[in-house]
């Protein structure tokens, strides 16, 4: 049996007694094999944690739905809000249907991973943690709501930034741009990333002037080499 088969059987928990002996002695004699086992063990923990966070968001939604269903007036208002949002999205799409920059946007846009407050089991349970848990699970509607709750409690430019990304993900570009313009030029950890995302959101709105200006600013001051290369490629495509 080769090493990969042993690793696979270890993962499945189906090693026989004889195979377990071979497996254990290989771990002692072969550092590469031992490292692969440790990597697999760590990866299993990481995937388990990622699923835990996703299930946590699922339950937060459940709680939110139950609370809303106990309050019919609020529920009707939310329903009307959703209808209005859908109508706006359809209208914006109709108006932008001839926007050639949509394809450029689609090929470069990705929400920034949560590097501000990585959620862990020891994280304090508050609106910020719930917001980032939802953000990491790509539930941007809930994340934006929780960030709003957090901002009412204490203003934080980085939270305004991540809330802006949530709005962008939810298709509300005006709100996304409003958030990012509000924090532009201020000192905080995502000041340059704000310029990059503003460039992208303006691009999607077909506002080439503002898009180019923000992306150029980002190229001048940004630190993330990958995003800088993206910004240059976008400018190259817009200006052609």
């Amino acid at each position: 049996m080769d090493k990969q088969d042993l690793l696979d059987k270890y993962l499945e928990g189906s090693l026989s007694e004889a195979e377990t002996n071979v497996f254990n002695s290989l771990r002692k004699s072969d550092p590469d094999f031992d490292e692969q086992v440790n990597f697999q063990d760590d990866l299993a923990e990481v995937v388990l944690e990622d699923e835990r966070r996703r299930l946590k968001t699922l339950l937060l939604n459940r709680k939110s739905n139950i609370t809303n269903s106990k309050n019919p007036n609020k529920w009707i208002l939310i329903g009307l809000g959703i209808l209005l949002l859908l109508a706006t999205i359809i209208l914006v799409r109709y108006v932008n249907s001839g926007n050639p920059n949509e394809a450029i946007y689609a090929s470069f846009y990705e929400p920034l991973p949560n590097s501000y407050r990585p959620v862990s089991r020891n994280s304090i349970n508050n609106a910020e943690t719930q917001g980032f848990t939802a953000y990491e699970s790509e539930n941007y509607v809930l994340a934006a709501e929780k960030f709003e709750e957090r901002l009412k409690d204490q203003y934080d430019l980085s939270i305004v930034f991540y809330q802006g990304i949530c709005y962008g993900e939810n298709g509300d570009l005006d709100a996304a741009i409003q958030n990012l313009e509000k924090i532009k030029g201020k000192e905080f950890p995502y000041a340059t990333e704000s310029q990059y995302y503003l460039g992208l959101y303006y691009l999607k709105q077909n506002n080439k002037t503002e898009s180019i200006r923000n992306l150029q600013d980002f190229i001048q001051s940004g630190k993330d080499e990958e995003l800088i290369q993206n910004a240059k490629a976008i400018l190259d495509k817009i200006e052609k």
Partner: protein, 177 residues
């Protein structure tokens, strides 16, 4: 154990997340009422309850928990007790919790270590298809054949090579970080 509880367990073993939602609906109020007197906020209690039922779900789903000695409720309350004590410890509140009605389960707290946190950060940077295939292997514990049956991979070799490619990509991301 009641027939309903046995049904929950069978559904969780199939990774049926609706079972988790039903457990949430069934036990939420009584859990909050039981632990209300220990000085934790409503949010902290809600958090403890959610963590408890997720732990129950994942342990059953991954086959770590096959037969429950007591009822589902007993198991949730036992993990809940641990979570409540942990929250009280963080808030430096010294309150004794009675052992009445609670079985002494041993509960593992799987906080990610520093190395795993780094791995987690890069795992989240992988594409959706890579995250999915790694979850099939490392979370759901599916075999190659089972993955072929539920996915769009055409055969076991495609699954195998895709998994290797994703792990290589993950290792490279960490290496180049």
């Amino acid at each position: 154990m009641s027939g309903k509880e046995e049904d929950y367990i069978r559904r969780i073993q199939r990774n049926d997340e609706n079972a988790l939602k039903e457990i949430y609906d069934s036990y939420s109020d009584s859990f909050m009422a039981f632990y209300r007197g220990y000085g934790l906020s409503k949010n902290d209690l809600e958090d403890a309850f959610q963590d408890s039922i997720i732990a129950l779900y994942q342990n059953i789903m991954q086959g770590k928990l096959k037969i429950l000695d007591g009822s589902i409720k007993t198991y949730i309350w036992a993990i809940g007790k641990y979570k409540v004590i942990d929250s009280l410890r963080i808030k430096k509140k010294d309150i004794k919790i009675s052992n009445d009605y609670i079985e002494p389960y041993e509960i593992k707290d799987a906080e990610l270590n520093e190395k795993q946190q780094l791995l987690y950060k890069h795992f989240k940077l992988l594409g959706k298809s890579c995250q999915k295939i790694l979850k099939y292997f490392y979370y759901e514990g599916l075999t190659l054949q089972e993955i072929v049956e539920i996915s769009e991979y055409k055969d076991e070799n495609s699954v195998k090579s895709s998994k290797s490619r994703c792990i290589k990509q993950l290792r490279n991301l960490i290496k180049n970080a």
